[in-house]
Amino acid sequence: MVAHPPVLALRGISKRFGGVQALVDVDLQVRAGEVVALAGDNGAGKSTLVKAISGVSPADRGIIEWEGRLVQIKRPHDAHALGIATVYQDLAMCDNLDVVGNLFLGREIDRVGVLDEVEMERRARDLMRALSISIPDVRIPVAALSAGQRQAVAISRSLMGAPKVLLLDEPTAALGVEQTSHLLDLIEEVRDHGMAIILISHNMGDIKAVADRVAVLRLGRNNGLFDVSTVTQEQIISAVTGAADNAVAHRVKGDEEAWP
């Protein structure tokens, strides 16, 4: 295990939006078969970091290493090509397209430019079945789906290309209890197949359930990296809220209710 370089390593990532310094010198690593949770208050820069990795909104400064070698991620295409898949916080779906259309958006199956709808539909059905996702039909527009169903479609889309790294930006926020546990099972399953996962979550329960490590962002900076098996909930929370300036404080303060 130890010999493996991280599949994805970020060093000194910084990003500024006008007057807002959204990320400052952020480091983050994730290995194959590992789930790293990314925690932080609203506005801490978690989604910004995800978009920097996925090429939607590249970082201003910093280094990205992929399997030990330096890479540039300037466009979403670069991230796809490396094997990075993303489920965005806003899901990024085209409401007017049906489920099949969204699943295959940007990587349609075609013959000389002509869509192979039958094959795409067949694979979409297989995928929905394999992930035991129940939606009324793969041919209805995603706008007609419930929030949980849309989330499920977005997640299955991310898994479609057999990625090596999966970025999940608050995937459980719109889900009910049962759907959440279904998703957590799914995360464990793909982790066991050697996928590396960065899971953004506000939910301590989810983090405790599936993550191996927790990285905390606060005001755009790293504010602690913990081993989930040894850290307490309170330690994470104080890193998130800034009660602790690094991963050392042991103040017992705050509880889950303090989370939005």
């Binding site: 990024a92 779906m93 085209c94 397209l97 009324p136």
Partner: protein
Amino acid sequence: MSRERPHRDGGPAGADGAGPVTADSRPRPRGWSGNLRDYALEVRGSVRDGERGPLLVIAGLIVIWIVFQALDDKFLSPRNLSNLSVEIVGTGLVAVGIVFVLLIREIDLSVGSVSGLAGAAFAVLNVNQGVPEWLAVIVAVAVGMAVGAFHGFFFAWLGVPAFVVTLAGLLIWNGLTLYLLGASGTINIDEEGLVASLTSRHFGDDLAAYAVAALGTAGYFLAAHRKRSRHRAAGMPYRQTPEIWVRTGVLAAVSFTAAYTLNRFQGLPFALLIFLTVLVVSDYVLRRTRYGRRVYALGGGVEAARRAGIGVERVRVAMFMVSGTLAAFGGLFVASGLTSASPTTARAAGSGMLLINAIAAAVIGGTSLFGGRGSPWSVLLGVLVIQSIASGMGLLGVEDAVQFMITGGVLLAAVAADALTRRTEARRGRP
């Protein structure tokens, strides 16, 4: 994009039930031997979603035709209908260009001016400069394409809102048209030439119109049948054979009646053939190709499209180029109908009548101003409505002032219907 299919209940595996038939879990009806009432329900189910809009417009068109026929019995004469089928083409082509732009949730207000520019460019080059006609046509259409690229650049790369860019374009290209025509005034184009023949030529042989009708019907049937077989082979829901037959039958009835009517005047108009070809090709590109999927994706969510790796800027520029190109092409049909390009018609083009008719045609037919919904075929219906009203009012001698108000009112009604559709669909969870 949603395909209207009544059967959502899995593959052929569900078809072998022989037990009591209930409304909800009945087995798939097999051909006409199935219960007819069930089948009627199926058809109604398939109509309910995607096809209600077009059916309403068809009903409206029939009402318009009946009213004008009652007011003037020349309205439904083969001559008037045949002329109508030529008159719709200029506006129709422009409107198809508008559809491409509307699908990505933008607007092109310059199309009227661009069509005028193309007509003037052609006339100046061919008549005044002696450039061969075919070359002048290519240059005129290329001018439209270049103008579209120019708009697209300002919009996609510089981020100027499309309606402002194309509003400026409306004035610029109209000014350029007047400037081009300024030296010579009205230019009459060669009445025997290629451009004039765009609207004057008819295929006199009865066979031509029937052949097109037969080809269209057979093409539809084969495409539907092939799709059905492929879906069935893959074990997926598919459209029923009787449903395909009914649709094919309706199409055949409409197209052969149209062919018969056209043949009772001068035969199949060349212009109509071109228009239908443009509709078939653009519908195919939008609905069946990877590129078309990107266009719809942009209309459904620019950010989602961008994150899926789609080159949003390029698609945007391309759509304005399509719109400019088709506007120029449509402009040649307008010039052809008038067999001239003149400052008067150029001013009229700049006044926005063609623009309004084109937008109205697209929207009446069911293409949404809110992006991501619609098709080139919507233009055929819409432009028939618009041009029928214009033609009928022309026959009745209604003055321009009233025609303007009515056309404006029709556009407003169509846009209001579009907005209402969007609201009800949003409430039901549809885009």
